[in-house]
């Protein structure tokens, strides 16, 4: 009869162990389809939409306006405006929004953010000729940072979103962000009804708002159409896209 020494037994056990280990790992090392497909997505609380019926009507109205009025306006604007001028106009209006970004940072206690925004405003308004150019982008310590607003500040304080809203012409929002938007207008010295400039006639704020909207329309419309283009339910897609975007901005 053949004799087995301890080394033979050890080798046999080792091979068994290897076999068991590899088969165990074969199961453990992979995501199972049923788990991956069935798991809840980490997207936060469900979006409250008690006004869906009204929102959907407003969505349809906005959609009509965007595609039939804003799109021709955006295309016309792009056709008559050279690309560098278009980019400068966008930068100019972005620069004017400095008070909103400053308030958004301060209300969240982000002093470093407030400092960067103030520095950027000072540099871009002077060297950058009233914000038409953004030389601060290339200055160390004053590179662009994520934009903050008062709605984000409310969110960072723990204020809930409230019901989802579609605002006429303005698009997706929620009760908290609507409050934030009013706050944004209040801190912006150029925005009505809180404008700090008393002696300008009513045509100026309207002209400013229309110009700002026109300058922003090509990129807004592009984003809107991209989101809507592949959507099974454009309303649902916009609702989810807006909410995900805002939640991420608040988390950051």
């Amino acid at each position: 009869m053949k004799k087995y020494n301890s080394n033979h037994i050890f080798a046999a056990l080792l091979l068994c162990a290897c076999g068991i280990t590899s088969s165990l790992h074969a199961e453990d090392d992979f995501l199972l389809e049923e788990n991956l497909y069935g798991e809840q997505l980490e997207i936060g609380p469900a979006i409250s939409d008690p006004l869906e019926f009204i929102n959907r009507y407003t969505f349809e109205f906005n959609d009509f306006v965007y595609l039939n009025l804003v799109e021709p306006l955006a295309k016309g604007y792009q056709a008559v405006t050279p690309d560098p001028v278009e980019a400068s106009a966008t930068r100019f209006f972005n620069n004017l929004k400095y008070p909103v970004r400053l308030a958004g940072n301060l209300l969240q206690g982000r002093l470093d953010g407030a400092w960067v925004e103030t520095g950027r405003f000072a540099i871009n308004s002077t060297i950058g000729v009233l914000g038409l150019f953004t030389p601060a982008d290339k200055m160390s310590g004053f590179e662009p940072i994520p934009k903050e607003d008062i709605g984000q500040a409310f969110g960072s304080w723990g204020l809930g979103e409230g019901p989802y809203l579609i605002l006429p012409l303005l698009g997706p929002s929620n009760l908290r962000d609507l409050g934030g938007m009013l706050g944004d207008r209040a801190v912006n010295p150029l925005d009505e009804p809180f404008s700090a400039i008393d002696d300008w006639s009513w045509e100026w704020p309207i002209a400013l708002a229309v110009t700002e909207f026109t300058a922003a329309s090509p990129s807004l419309l592009e984003r809107y159409k991209r989101l809507k283009g592949t959507a099974i339910d454009p309303y649902g897609s916009l609702k989810d896209g807006y909410t995900q975007f805002r939640r991420a901005a608040i988390q950051e």
Binding site: L31, Y37, I43, T230, A231, D233, G236
Partner: protein, 204 residues
């Protein structure tokens, strides 16, 4: 000493099987992204129709990744609310829609430049690869989420500018199945593909 030598394969086996996410996954992803861009912007592609470009892009993506994974994750538990025929139709139609949207989105734009960031290991079965896409003077941040499945590493979500594609579709599909069924979804997807064609004709 002999036991030590005999232990070597076990240690090796354990080490290999618990390897962190292979860094080569970023290279693989980069290769696929570049190939998909090449399928639209490469030499001779300017003469191709949008449909021909779509075929090329889809073949490129499917040569490396199983697109069913990301679509199945987007569908989630609604999958069981459809019969086998509807499930297959939905998979095919969504793939068509996504590839079409990609090719259409690239149409008339400058060739994008894609820069991949460092791979982030979430667990030994999940990694994330951030990327920065520069196109027409704009920068878009896109995060690819990959899972280690039996068929290899597969993309199970794409997050563009903080919006998860999977979560966005899941929301729409959850809403859909609260009122509709699988056949309605198939019809809706078909309508959407036809509508997209009409839109293209109008633009032309």
């Amino acid at each position: 000493m002999r036991k030590l030598i005999l232990l070597t394969p076990l240690v090796w086996l354990l080490a290999v099987s618990s390897l962190p996410a292979a860094s080569s996954e970023a290279d693989r992803l980069k290769g696929v992204i570049n190939a998909a861009i090449e399928a639209v912007y490469g030499d001779g592609c300017a003469e191709l129709t949008l449909e021909e470009k779509q075929v090329k892009v889809r073949a490129t993506l499917e040569s490396e990744y199983d697109l069913d994974v990301i679509i199945r994750r987007a569908i989630g538990r609604n999958w069981s609310l459809m019969n086998a025929q509807e499930q297959e139709q939905v998979l095919q139609l969504v793939k068509q829609l996504l590839v079409k949207a990609y090719v259409k989105g690239m149409n008339g734009t400058s060739r994008p430049e894609v820069q991949l960031g460092e791979t982030i290991e979430i667990t030994d079965k999940r990694i994330e690869i951030p990327s920065e896409i520069k196109m027409d003077g704009k920068t878009v941040n896109v995060l690819y989420r990959l899972g280690r499945m039996k068929s290899g590493w597969q993309i199970y979500d794409i997050v563009a500018e903080d919006i998860s594609v999977v979560a966005n579709y899941r929301q729409q599909l959850d809403d859909h199945f609260r009122k509709g069924n699988g056949q309605d979804l198939v019809n809706k997807l078909k309508e959407l593909l036809i509508k997209e064609d009409i839109d293209e004709e109008i633009q032309l």
